[in-house]
């Protein structure tokens, strides 16, 4: 039985519909990440789950119980907010233990649980400080501690790492993931950062304008994106897309001919025009390669690899090549494309072919 279920929920603010009917179920202990550009409805979905917003229609179930109209406090969820939402006038100890204190948990047990959480999150030295005397990362750890001492059914994370600097974000993302796995608590996590989504999730839910574009494990999302939007959103640098013709079992990009893999050729059948997608990192040798000439406009050496940004037959392209790849701006340069990694999308529906 799914642990958390959203059953055809909708949400509109006045005349503006934010969520069309949206359904999603999350298994027990699963780490699900909702990801999408801003305004895609991911935060609204999370807030409906938390009870901070009420769905206009549809049903929310946690552990089989209908909580659609339950108050936030009655759902046994714990939420971590983007700007921490700590109680500024309480110490770290007070913040973490406040809910327990209000609910009449004995003093000794509060102390024990706060100490345990503090140890887990390396907050011991700061227990008597107030939030304003902590760094961003420490504050967010306090917020996480406050959530986990409640031993909730579900953790809800609303972009918890967005306010942290890049290095800390990488550390915290691992910490949160490990913690969730150790506790085995179901988690729903909202972010706009696809790297965060890919690295943390058991299952990633990609959203756009309130709709779920694809919900799958990170590797499936990367290897078999359901449509052009997902393909573009997942992966960095983003996938290249070209409007191409299909002729004689080959992709025709302007005058350049890229022979198709047999399976792809069969699948595309009699289609004449498609969108051809290839990731920058799939421009290297393979069993089935095709040569593509491009005109680099900028060269970005990143150390482990180099990015060529330029144009091929008038369309923009990014290619990831070896650091010592011989290329210079303005001079035509030929890369080998791994055609086994090619993606094709319908030009009308943008769905995967």
């Amino acid at each position: 039985m799914p642990h958390v279920e959203l059953d055809a929920i909708t949400k509109s603010f006045g005349a503006v519909s934010v969520l069309p009917p949206l359904s999603l179920s999350v298994g027990k202990g699963e780490f699900v990440v909702l990801v999408g550009p801003s305004g895609c409805g991911k935060t609204t979905t999370l807030r409906i789950l938390a009870g901070l917003e009420t769905a206009s229609s549809g049903q929310v179930r946690i552990n089989g119980r209908d909580v659609t109209h339950a108050r936030p406090g009655e759902r046994n969820t714990a939420m971590v907010f983007q700007n921490y939402a700590l109680y500024p006038h309480m110490t770290v100890r007070g913040n973490i233990g406040y809910a327990m204190k209000v609910h009449g948990v004995p003093r000794a047990e509060i102390d024990a649980r706060v100490d345990e959480a503090a140890r887990l999150l390396a907050l011991d030295p700061y227990l008597d400080r107030k939030p304003r005397n902590l760094s961003g990362g420490q504050r967010q750890r306090v917020a996480i501690g406050r959530a986990l001492v409640r031993q909730p059914e579900v953790f809800l994370f609303d972009e918890p790492l967005s306010n942290l600097d890049a290095k800390l974000r990488v550390e915290m993302r691992t910490e949160i993931k490990l913690l969730q796995r150790r506790l085995g608590t179901t988690a729903v996590y909202v972010t706009h950062d696809q790297v965060e989504a890919m690295t943390m999730a058991d299952r990633v839910v990609v959203m756009r304008s309130g709709r779920i574009e694809q919900a799958a494990d990170p590797i499936t999302l990367y290897e078999q994106p359901a449509n052009r939007f997902v393909a573009n959103f997942i992966g960095s640098p983003a996938m290249n897309f070209f409007d191409v013709r299909i002729e004689d079992g080959a992709v025709m990009l302007g005058a350049q001919r890229l022979p198709l893999v047999e399976a792809d050729a069969r699948r595309l059948g009699s289609r004449r025009t498609v969108i051809f997608g290839i990731r920058p990192e799939h421009m290297r040798h393979s069993a089935h390669e095709a040569r593509l000439t491009l005109w680099p406009e900028a060269i970005e050496p990143l150390g482990a690899q180099t990015l060529l940004l330029g144009r091929a037959e008038g369309q923009k392209i990014t290619a990831q090549v070896d650091p010592r790849f011989p290329a210079s701006v303005g001079q035509p340069s030929t890369v080998t494309i791994d055609m086994t990694q090619a993606h094709f999308f319908d030009p009308e529906t943008e769905a995967r072919l």
Binding site: T77, A85, Y87, A99
Partner: protein, 295 residues
Amino acid sequence: MTASAERQDGIKHLFIWPAFLIVLVVSLFPLIYALTVSFQTVRIVPPTPPRFVGLDNYAQIASSARFWGAIGTTALITFLSVSAQYVLGFLLALALHHNVPGASLYRVTFLLPMFLAPVGVALIARMVFHPYLGPVNDAMAGLGFAYMPFLTEKWPAIMVLAVIDTWQWTPFVTLLMLAGLQGLPQEVFEAARVDNIGAWRRFWGITFPMLLPLSVAVIFIRLIEGFKIIDTVFVLTGGGPGTATETLTLFAYNEGFKKFNLGLTSALSFLFLIVVIVFGTVYLAAAQRLTRRYA
């Protein structure tokens, strides 16, 4: 130093001196003059030449029961009305913050009393609480109570004065507390709701402590203002019966502009200043301890 820097240096005098002179003439000079007068007997009616008497004026005031009575009355009215203003003002601010129906209408009407001149308010109140013509006594008679001599007996009169001050200045507290409430971070309250902390605990555990520094400031402003109460007392009771409702400022007014005993009045003004400073300091010290502990 370059030439232009020197010229700018000259300009600074142009900016500083007028302000300094105005402060000197309007504020410092009268203060110092009043201080010297407070050590003299200066009577205009009948005119007598000023005579240095040292601390006699102060001694005379300190030994008069009327002075201590005035301090007691002023402190009592201020304490009653500021307490009521704070509680009511905060409650109204909470109601407006949570958008009760018609909040935008209330927001304007609640502020109206604050815009009225205190003398006007006092004149209205004199009619409202009139022993025979006023609607309050009519209503009480209708409910079967005896007529109440609101303005001619000590305790009812003090209560009326506190009520009027409350009526006029609660909007001020509402306005500032509402601004404070609207400045609080929303997520903190959402976090508390998710953590199943009820509205009552949310208020006492989160809202109130977070607004404590603002509360301290608002109450302080009202305390200082409240101590200066004179217009309503002057119009409603004139300090009577006897001197039962006489406040410090009214006492000073009576000495200065009815008896024209200016030396004594100046001394009284300085004592008034000292009283306000003492009350203010005690209050701030207490408030600071409270803030350090809870906010």
